[in-house]
């Protein structure tokens, strides 16, 4: 999950410039989608796992990166199996697994502030068009920060509605969640103002 974002460490991967890692990811992803055969993809998987080991990511954490996507991957696998064949289904799922792990590796070894700073630099040319790259950076940081907060809020709302026997109603869950999210957004905007952001 995005909650277990950054894993402090001093490995060579941690020390690579954030911009380089962020740029390497889409390149790597493109290459993955050009590869159609199982063997090179399996090699890519081995490479990504080796890099996780180099960054001293505990194996438990590697598996945890995949868990949220497991359901979708299974559906993909089965549908490809049905539409095409076993080897195509394997290629497709392998590709996604490698890509997810590679993305996880970047976020695990890069402080979000560094990613944000790299992004701000990359977006600097947009400044000439009147956009403010710092705002993009802040938006990304806020997203990373508030996903776990909203998960907690959603759980609180669900519990409160369950206590009232209403946890099967989408409306009873969605309305308070949206109200609280809007209120939180209001407060956050105010706090950023107060802190001179």
């Amino acid at each position: 999950m995005i909650g277990s974002l950054y894993l402090p460490g001093r490995s060579p991967l941690h020390r690579l410039p954030a911009g380089l890692k962020a740029a390497a990811l889409p390149v790597f992803g493109t290459v993955l989608f050009l590869v159609e055969r199982i063997v090179p993809l399996a090699a890519a998987l081995a490479l990504v796992i080796a890099l996780h080991a180099l960054a001293r990511v505990p194996p438990r954490l590697v598996l945890r990166q995949l868990r949220p996507a497991a359901g979708i991957l299974l559906v993909l696998f089965l549908s490809q199996l049905w539409l095409a064949d076993l080897s195509e289904a394997t290629v497709l799922v392998l590709r996604f697994v490698v890509l997810i792990l590679a993305a996880a590796l970047v976020t695990l070894t890069t402080r979000s502030a560094d990613l944000v700073a790299a992004l701000e630099r990359a977006l600097r040319p947009l400044g000439m068009l009147g956009a403010d790259p710092r705002k993009f950076g802040l938006a990304i940081a806020l997203t990373l920060r508030f996903i776990p907060v909203l998960a907690v809020v959603a759980e609180e709302v669900r519990e409160a509605q369950r206590a009232r026997g209403r946890d099967r109603s989408i409306l009873a869950l969605a309305v308070p969640l949206i109200v609280r999210t809007l209120k939180l957004a209001d407060e956050v905007a105010e706090a950023i103002d107060a802190r001179g952001g």
Partner: protein, 221 residues
């Protein structure tokens, strides 16, 4: 503050206030909706008065908004809406950005302030994995690292248990900065120099803690 009035959404929220706040520790109390938060937000220009003017050390909160914000730190009730970066160190760095410090100096200031609040070495910890008390301390540190001369706090202990309330209050007590604190926890005001009591947007009592708190109790009875 000079004859300040405030309306929000077309309704009057605060009525004619003429105040000069110079004491080191000022408390603000009153029932829900009495205007305490609105009052606190006037002090750093988060809200602009609809009548009169508010000045802080001679600076107008509307005209010199930027300078006032730098001088007046604001701590909110919910640290979750105040901490904007995923890790502790990044969030503290956010407050320092306008100062454009060297990386090493930035890291040094962050390390010092974390040590001061019993959070030494927490730079890389994820904010959402901290306890509520630790989070409120990080929020406080994020404001203090900007070295404001006045600190305004809006019910900073409401979400904290007794132990964390004590921790936060000890941190606040140790500050040399001037403090204005809105609170429902009347016990916290014992050592304060002055307490303001609001009722339905009016300042109804202003003086030593014991007298004003007694007045508040009478008002509720």
């Amino acid at each position: 503050m000079e004859t300040v009035a405030l309306e929000r959404g077309g309704r009057p929220v605060l009525a004619r206030l003429d105040l000069c706040l110079t004491e080191r520790r000022i408390g603000v109390i009153g029932a829900n909706g009495s205007g305490k938060s609105s009052f606190a937000r006037l002090l750093n220009g988060l809200l602009a008065p609809t009548g009169g003017r508010v000045t802080v050390d001679g600076l107008d909160t509307v005209k010199d908004a930027k300078a006032v914000r730098r001088r007046v730190g604001f701590v909110f009730q919910n640290p979750d809406s105040q901490i904007v970066y995923p890790t502790v160190g990044e969030d503290l760095a956010f407050g320092l950005k306008p100062l454009k410090l060297e990386k090493a100096e930035e890291a040094r200031r962050i390390r010092l302030i974390l040590e001061r609040y019993g959070l030494a070495g927490a730079e890389d910890r994820l904010v959402h994995e901290l306890s509520g008390g630790e989070r409120q301390l990080v929020a406080l540190a994020g404001v203090l690292i900007m070295r404001p001369s006045i600190l305004v706090l809006d019910e900073p202990t409401t979400l904290l248990d007794l132990r964390n309330t004590r921790r936060l209050m000890a941190a606040i007590d140790a500050l040399s900065e001037r403090v204005v604190m809105v609170t429902h926890d009347l016990d916290l005001l014992a050592g304060f120099d002055r307490v303001l009591l609001f009722d339905e947007g009016r300042l109804v009592a202003d003086g030593a803690p014991a007298t004003v708190i007694e007045r508040y109790r009478a008002l509720l009875a």
